[in-house]
């Protein structure tokens, strides 16, 4: 296979909830080690599209898809796909921090343990690495046995990022990761994402357009399930080509 700069290739891809078509014939490429942001009004299908990248929509009984979605050249909706392995390689962080009700250590150890890593020293190393990468280690190294739920909101969100990183993912999907956080924690996470981007591909759904503008390399604008415009972030925010995009980002929608 020729060297491909796209980690995801989405081709004429649609997602349905029963009869309802939530994502309509989207074609989009996601580049390796870039931050791609998806913006659009509520209900435009952006979270649905994001969740399709590691088949989280499978959990919704009535959902089904059409079209093709390649991850590193492999169609992830093929019947032989190992979905558990896919979700290890394509991690996810949600809007509200959702640590497990266990210690900081156990939160991060959960994935590696399930993967069969049992040796204490090996686990210790993975956990320290993940917490360092998530920029949380300094704050929690003396309280690894305390409950993950005892941390601040911003720390909990970074714990969730560490939990995801412990799985050594190639991609992390973020669904509104800072909308429940204050500006300082938000800035912290944004800096972290730009740091992580060096080793992990990031796709982020955000309602905060300034956030997309600040951190992403590429921005996609979705409306009513359709991909209206996709391009490098600077072009989208300075000189969008589509009138709908312009109206949305300048706050003159509808």
């Amino acid at each position: 296979m020729v060297a491909n700069k796209n980690i995801f290739e989405i081709k004429d891809f649609s997602i349905f909830y029963g009869d309802f078509m939530a994502v309509k014939n989207v074609t989009l490429n996601i580049e390796y080690n870039k931050i791609s942001a998806i913006i659009g009004p509520s209900g435009c299908g952006k979270s649905t599209l994001l969740r399709s990248l590691n088949r989280m929509n499978d959990l919704i009984i009535s959902s089904h898809v059409a079209g093709e979605l390649f991850f590193q050249g492999v169609d992830i909706y093929h019947k032989d796909t190992d979905v558990i392995e896919l979700r290890r390689r394509v991690g996810m962080v949600f809007q509200k921090p959702n640590p497990f009700p266990s210690s900081v250590y156990e939160n991060v150890a959960y994935g590696p343990k399930i993967r069969g890593i049992k040796k204490k020293n090996q686990l210790d190393e993975i956990i320290e690495n993940a917490l360092v990468k998530a920029d949380l280690w300094k704050e929690v190294k003396d309280k690894l046995n305390e409950s993950g739920l005892s941390l601040s909101g911003g720390q909990m969100q970074r714990l969730c990022i560490a939990r995801s990183l412990a799985q050594e993912p190639e991609v992390i999907l973020f669904d509104e990761p800072t909308s429940a956080l204050d500006p300082i924690s938000t800035a912290h996470i944004e800096n972290l994402l730009q740091e992580l981007q060096k080793t992990v591909t990031i796709v982020i759904v955000t309602h905060n357009m300034q956030q997309a503008a600040r951190i992403s390399n590429y921005t996609a604008f979705m409306y009513l399930g359709e991909m209206v415009e996709f391009g490098d972030t600077n072009s989208i925010f300075v000189n969008p080509q589509n009138k709908l995009t312009e109206e949305y980002i300048t706050g003159r929608f509808g």
Binding site: M209, A213, F237, V238, N239, P240, T250
Partner: protein
């Protein structure tokens, strides 16, 4: 209308007002020269602080809008354009003051010869300012491209004016001080036209999101 749209409308109107004041200053400074009206020249000089104050006010408003409204896309391009073109307009105001100052000096001396090129240049420069600002308000059209083209006519007149004055100076060196002042005035008008060209280029950026400064225009509509 949303508050932000009102604010942008107000910003556009302030830029237009500044443009009108500058256009009048250019017209009056040249009129003061041609009609040897020193009172009018003094008035141009006296009124320049109003132009400066409006320029500062527009800049402050632009910074406020960037900070508080976080403009994007066409709004961002409108505000950055307003900030840049007010600087050009303010400089044109200074050029009008320079013309008025030279007029005051020349009005003290006997007239060298009737003015021919300078009034033509002034009319062209004023029309460039007016059309560039019309384009600022009415949006995308051929107008800013025409303004840029007109700059060549002003440049040609500058050269013509200089050559004529040069022959005067050669014929009679005593005419040199007055002739040099006239070449200055032509130079001021030529600079005014350059600033109008800058404005037209920014209007094209505002409309199309494309910087055309220091490039050849190949795709004018």
């Amino acid at each position: 209308m949303a508050i932000f749209d009102e604010e942008l409308k107000d910003l556009r109107e302030r830029v237009l007002k500044l443009g009108c004041m500058v256009e009048n200053a250019i017209r009056d400074s040249v009129k003061a020269l041609v009609e040897r009206d020193s009172d009018l020249a003094k008035e141009v000089i006296k009124k320049d602080h109003l132009i400066n104050a409006l320029d500062v006010g527009i800049d402050e408003e632009c910074v406020r809008l960037i900070a508080l409204r976080q403009p994007l896309a066409r709004d961002l391009r409108l505000i950055t354009t307003a900030m840049k073109i007010t600087t050009d307009l303010e400089r044109m105001g200074d050029m009008a003051v320079n013309i008025a100052e030279r007029a005051l000096e020349l009005n003290e001396e006997p007239q060298l010869k009737p003015f021919v090129n300078i009034p033509k240049m002034a009319v062209l420069a004023q029309s460039m300012v007016r059309d560039a600002l019309d384009a600022f308000v009415t949006g995308c059209s051929r107008l800013p491209y025409e303004v840029i083209k007109r700059d060549d006519e002003v440049d040609d007149l500058t050269v013509k004016n200089f050559e004529e004055l040069l022959s005067f100076m050669i014929q009679d060196p005593k005419r040199i001080p007055l002739a040099i002042k006239r070449t200055y005035i032509a130079k001021y008008l030529e600079r005014i036209a350059d600033h109008a060209t800058n404005i037209a280029e920014m209007i094209i950026y505002m409309c199309r999101g494309k910087m055309i400064r220091h490039t050849e225009i190949t795709d004018a509509p």
